[in-house]
Each structure stands twice: as structure tokens, then as C-alpha cells.
């Protein structure tokens, strides 16, 4: 039961387009900043928004085809839609919400039990915690036996504390349901955890579609690189030597990259590829930036350390061992092969050579 969707639809300041196929059992995530056209895609699939032109089909059944004037009403599409903020009916209790779209009562009881909310059946939805509300919304969407799932920012309404746990639960759930699932989020980490493939979307256009690993290792452009967590530094390619490009960074430092480029470039490097030490080591790492530590921010069990223009992500234990503190001088090192170069005006410099 694959989902196929393609459409063109003008939004306020740009035209949103997409052409996606989601096979059964696959979760496809669209990530991008707010207002990029992510929710528009979900609303078109659900039938809540009719695009200027486009088509939607699930398992060969055409739900929308603007050329053939087919437009199946949303209530007849068998789509499980988890809304941002969940959109639970405030005038109904948990049972009333889950039962709203259900075909039979046994299915409702089964779902209440499966999501561990049977003891809340008579609770007002306004009194539930964020995690409970999400489970009620999922149970409600699944009570209709949907042919596909649409998840709009499923984790953004949760606080950081419950988020990691709910994310793991949701991952399990999506895996066991084996439905084609389209998920949108502004958080690349959520997308990478929950989805098999991720599309980075900006101003209504999908810039790159691939597995999370592909996006991180071969980002198609600086936007994708930034979105997947890379640090992007502006600079100028000044020389080529032994197949390496020397880049004069705007911050005054010099960086070497294994990519080829000329003229103005953006250098992308992932913070977890940057290591820190008291002195520049003579090893395979070509790039060394010695500067003062300007900030140290814990992120989970890791620490993000800003050193001059670069950011290094290291373990809390390493940070302690190095005795890092703001103002201390430290050397940040990374390999020339850990960098990506993009011409400053757009397309990737070396995507073709990388294959």
C-alpha cells in the first residue's frame, strides 16, 4: 500500500511542489523551517487542502487527480492524521475522542489498552499530560484503521524531558504498524530517529531526499548541511595543492579540504568531527585552529564547545579531562576529508565527483 503524492500549489511567497512515493512500512520525514510547506503537503494528502494541480493515490486508489477532477472527501480517505498540538476534542473525554472515528467498539478497547490509556478513558482531555495527549491522538487516528499515517510535528508539543522516551515509543509503533507514513518536523534529529528517508524542504521545494546517513555524509547544499547539524563557514578558495583545496576563512584562519572548489566557498564540517586538544598534534588531521574557548554548552551527555569560528562536540568526560573553561586557549582539529565545500552561490561543488 504505497502512497504517491505529487502537487504544485502556490503559497504566499513561493510555489510549493513535491513528488513523493512512500512504500508500505516506510516512514518518510520532511524536515525544514516553519513555513516551508511541510504541513501543506500533509493537508493535501488528507484532502483538507486542494492543490492547484496534483494527484494523490494510496495503493493504486486515486484520492485526488486535479486533471481528472477526482477529489475524494477527507472523511472517505482513510487517512490517520496526527495534528500538531494533537487537536483533541475538548468537549469529549478520552474514550469519546478515541471512539469518534472508530468502526467498532472492540478496536477502541484494544487501542486504549495498547497505548496504556484505558485507565484514563473517562478523563477530560484537558487534564492530560503532553505524552498522554499524544497517545490519545494516536489511538484516535488508528481507531479508523487508516491506510496511511500523517504526523505533523508529533514531538514538538512535548517538553524535553518526555520527548526522548516518546520518540522511542513512536519509533517502535511506526515500525510495528508497517503503514506508509509521512512525517513533518523542523528537527533533523527527530526525523533521523523516526524516519527511513528524510527530505529537506525549504520554500516549498525538496532540496535533497535520502537516508539520514546520506544527508549527513553528502549534503547537497549548505542549507541541507546546516539543517543536518553541520557548521558552515564562509571563505575563499585560494590554492590547490596535492588535490587539496586551501580556503582562507572569513575569520582569518585557514582550512584544508579534500573537495575541489574555486572562488567564494562555504566550508561545512560537523561538530562531532572536530576534536579538541591542548596542542596541535602532528597526525592525519590537517586542520588546526588554535583559539580561545568562547562558550561551553552541555547537550545531553555531550558538550558543545565554541573555539574561534568552529564548534566541537565532545563528551562531557573529555571536556572535564581537558579542563576546558571559557577563555582558555585550545586547538580544534579536523581532517580535510571531514569537510565539504560548496560554492557560495549555490550548487554543491563536488557532488558529481563523490558520486
Amino acid at each position: 500500500m504505497a502512497l504517491r503524492v505529487r502537487f504544485t500549489h502556490p503559497l504566499r511567497s513561493f510555489v510549493a511542489t513535491a513528488d513523493l512515493t512512500v512504500p508500505p512500512g516506510e516512514t518518510l520525514a520532511l524536515v525544514g523551517p516553519s513555513g516551508a510547506g511541510k504541513t501543506t503537503t500533509l493537508r493535501i494528502v488528507a484532502g483538507l487542502l486542494r492543490p492547484r494541480s496534483g494527484a494523490v493515490a494510496v495503493n493504486g486508489t486515486v484520492l485526488l487527480d486535479t486533471e481528472r477532477e477526482v477529489d475524494v472527501a477527507p472523511e472517505r480517505r482513510r487517512v490517520g492524521y496526527l495534528f500538531q498540538e494533537y487537536a483533541l476534542f475538548p468537549h469529549l473525554d478520552v474514550l469519546g475522542n478515541v471512539r469518534f472515528g472508530a468502526r467498532d467498539r472492540a478496536r477502541v478497547d484494544e487501542l486504549l489498552e495498547r497505548f496504556g490509556i484505558d485507565h484514563l478513558a473517562r478523563a477530560r482531555v484537558t487534564e492530560l499530560s503532553g505524552g498522554e495527549r499524544q497517545r490519545v491522538a494516536l489511538a484516535r487516528a488508528l481507531a479508523r484503521d487508516p491506510a496511511l499515517l500523517l504526523l505533523d510535528e508529533p514531538l514538538s508539543a512535548l517538553d524535553a524531558h518526555t520527548r526522548a522516551g516518546v520518540r522511542a515509543e513512536l519509533r517502535e509503533l511506526l515500525h510495528s504498524l508497517a503503514l506508509p507514513t509521512l512525517l513533518v518536523t523542523h528537527d533533523f534529529e527527530d526525523a533521523a530517529t523516526l524516519a527511513d528517508r528524510v527530505g529537506v524542504i525549504s520554500r516549498g521545494r525538496i532540496l535533497q531526499l535520502g537516508t539520514p546517513a546520506e544527508l549527513v555524509s553528502v549534503p547537497a547544499d549548505p542549507f541541507v548541511a546546516t539543517f543536518t547539524g553541520a557548521l558552515v563557514l564562509g571563505g575563499h578558495a585560494i590554492a590547490t595543492q596535492d588535490g587539496l583545496t586551501e580556503v582562507a576563512l572569513e575569520s582569518g584562519f585557514t582550512a584544508w579540504s579534500a573537495d575541489h572548489a574555486v572562488g567564494r566557498v562555504n566550508v561545512a564540517v560537523y561538530p562531532w568531527d572536530v576534536s579538541l586538544g591542548p596542542v596541535a598534534q602532528d597526525d592525519s588531521r590537517l586542520n588546526h585552529i588554535t583559539a580561545a574557548v568562547t562558550s561551553i554548552a552541555p547537550v545531553g551527555n555531550r558538550v558543545r564547545v565554541q573555539v574561534g569560528p568552529v564548534v566541537a562536540e565532545i563528551t562531557a568526560a573529555s571536556a572535564e579531562r581537558l579542563g576546558l573553561r571559557p577563555g582558555a586557549t585550545v586547538t580544534a582539529s579536523f581532517k580535510a576529508t571531514a569537510t565539504r565545500l560548496f560554492p557560495a552561490n549555490g550548487a554543491p561543488a563536488t557532488l558529481d565527483e563523490k558520486g
Binding site: 492524521y81 487537536a87 476534542f89 475538548p90 468537549h91 469518534f100 472515528g101 484537558t126 479508523r144
Partner: protein
């Protein structure tokens, strides 16, 4: 004036007839206002643009019209010499100066109070809720009955109370379009005016009755809003505030 005398003054035939006429005509007017006004308000709440502006203007017109103008307007529309007079006459019906005229006058003057509040109440419902209902298999009708109506009922109740209170006090349009015939078209407000010259005690007693009824209506709105305090929005003059989305 002792309370006993007030109550016995309400027992006069003029007062009893006025109570009966008012109850009958206002009940019918409320049925018309709720029956036609609720779907109309829902329709307006879901429209944007010029058509909506025109419809809203037409709906709100009775709110700002002087009652005498409303009375003349109804006479011109439905009276024997009026625009629809020939049609109505041909059917053997004469509307002006009958109970039907009272019902029309009350409906005309009171309906904007309900419609305005009802439109605001429907618009205050988070638009993702009807959208969610659609994806859960509910068609337009079921979305209206199971989602929109229950979520807007606080505002609808407040609007109905406002319209009822306005209809109860209706005077100008009624006296011009329906006259003031005791037992036929003389409502409580009209009876006060007539009894003011004939028997002041009766006028006073009817006034006291209207004050009491109005107070009960306002109080019941307040109590309703307390019961529904969980779902928000139910005071007469701030019937709805759009939830942040």
C-alpha cells in the same frame, strides 16, 4: 406599593392577555431565530470576502435601524399595500396587525443579537478540530452536530439570551406593524404603554415582571458559563475570544 397589590395587578385581564401574547409570539420568534439563525451563522463563519461582508451588513442592519423604520419596512414588505402584499393577499392571508406580524417584528429586531454572537462563537472554535473530525470520517453534517455545535454552545446560549431579552422589550416595530390590540398583538411592552394612562398599577406590575424576567435571563447565562467554565468563553459581552493557534 405592597407586593401583594403588584401581584394582583398582574391578574388583570390586560396583563394576563399581554403575558399570553408575549409568550406565544416570543417563543415562536426564538424558534425561527435559532432554527434559521444557527445554520446561517455557521455559513457566515466559514466565509471570507465580499459576499460575507454584504450578508453580515444585511444581518446587522436591524441592529442600527430606528425601530420605527423597521416597522415601516415590515409594513412596506408585508402590508396589504406592500411589496409582497398582493401575493400575501391572494393567498387570503393578511399579516399586518396579526400575531404573525408580532412574530415577524420580534424576529426581525432580535435576530442580529443572536447571529452576531453565534458567528463569533463558531469562529472561536479552533479550525483544526473540524479538520480533525473530517479525517476521522465525519461528513459536513456530523462535524456540525458533533463538533461545532457542542463547542460553540456557550456562545450560542449567550446569543439566544441576548436575543430573547431584546425580543421581550420589542416595542417600536411591533406597534407600527402589528398595532396594539389586547389579546391579539398587545405584548407586555405595549401593554405598559397603554396601561400607563389607564391603570398605572398594572403598568408598574408588568414593568416589575419584565425586570425580574430579564434578571433571571442574565443570571442563567452567568450560571451556564460557570458550568462550562472548563471549555471557556461564555459571558454575554465577551462571548468569544479566538484561541491562540
Amino acid at each position: 406599593m405592597p407586593l401583594g397589590d403588584l401581584i394582583s395587578a398582574l391578574g388583570s385581564s390586560a396583563a394576563l392577555d399581554a403575558i399570553r401574547v408575549t409568550a406565544e409570539t416570543n417563543a415562536l420568534a426564538m424558534v425561527l431565530i435559532l432554527g434559521f439563525g444557527t445554520p446561517a451563522a455557521y455559513w457566515i463563519a466559514r466565509r471570507r470576502g465580499a459576499v460575507r461582508d454584504v450578508v453580515v451588513t444585511l444581518v446587522e442592519l436591524p441592529l442600527v435601524l430606528p425601530p420605527a423604520v423597521a416597522g415601516i419596512g415590515l409594513l412596506v414588505a408585508f402590508g396589504r399595500a406592500g411589496l409582497l402584499g398582493d401575493t400575501v393577499d391572494a393567498l387570503g392571508i393578511d399579516i399586518a396587525f396579526t400575531k404573525v406580524a408580532v412574530v415577524l417584528a420580534v424576529t426581525f429586531v432580535a435576530s442580529p443579537f443572536y447571529l452576531r454572537t453565534a458567528v463569533a462563537a463558531f469562529e472561536a472554535v479552533d479550525p483544526t478540530l473540524p479538520a480533525a473530525a473530517r479525517t476521522l470520517g465525519a461528513g459536513e453534517g456530523r462535524v456540525f452536530l458533533r463538533v461545532m455545535l457542542p463547542l460553540a454552545k456557550g456562545g450560542l446560549g449567550a446569543g439566544a439570551a441576548l436575543a430573547f431579552a431584546r425580543g421581550l422589550g420589542e416595542f417600536g416595530a411591533t406597534i407600527m406593524f402589528a398595532g396594539s390590540l389586547q389579546g391579539v398583538t398587545q405584548t407586555l411592552s405595549l401593554a405598559i404603554y397603554e396601561q400607563f394612562d389607564l391603570d398605572f398599577d398594572v403598568a408598574l406590575a408588568i414593568s416589575a415582571l419584565l425586570i425580574a424576567v430579564s434578571a433571571v435571563v442574565l443570571l442563567s447565562v452567568k450560571l451556564m458559563s460557570r458550568w462550562h467554565s472548563g471549555s471557556g468563553s461564555l459571558t454575554l459581552f465577551a462571548a468569544s475570544s479566538r484561541q491562540p493557534t
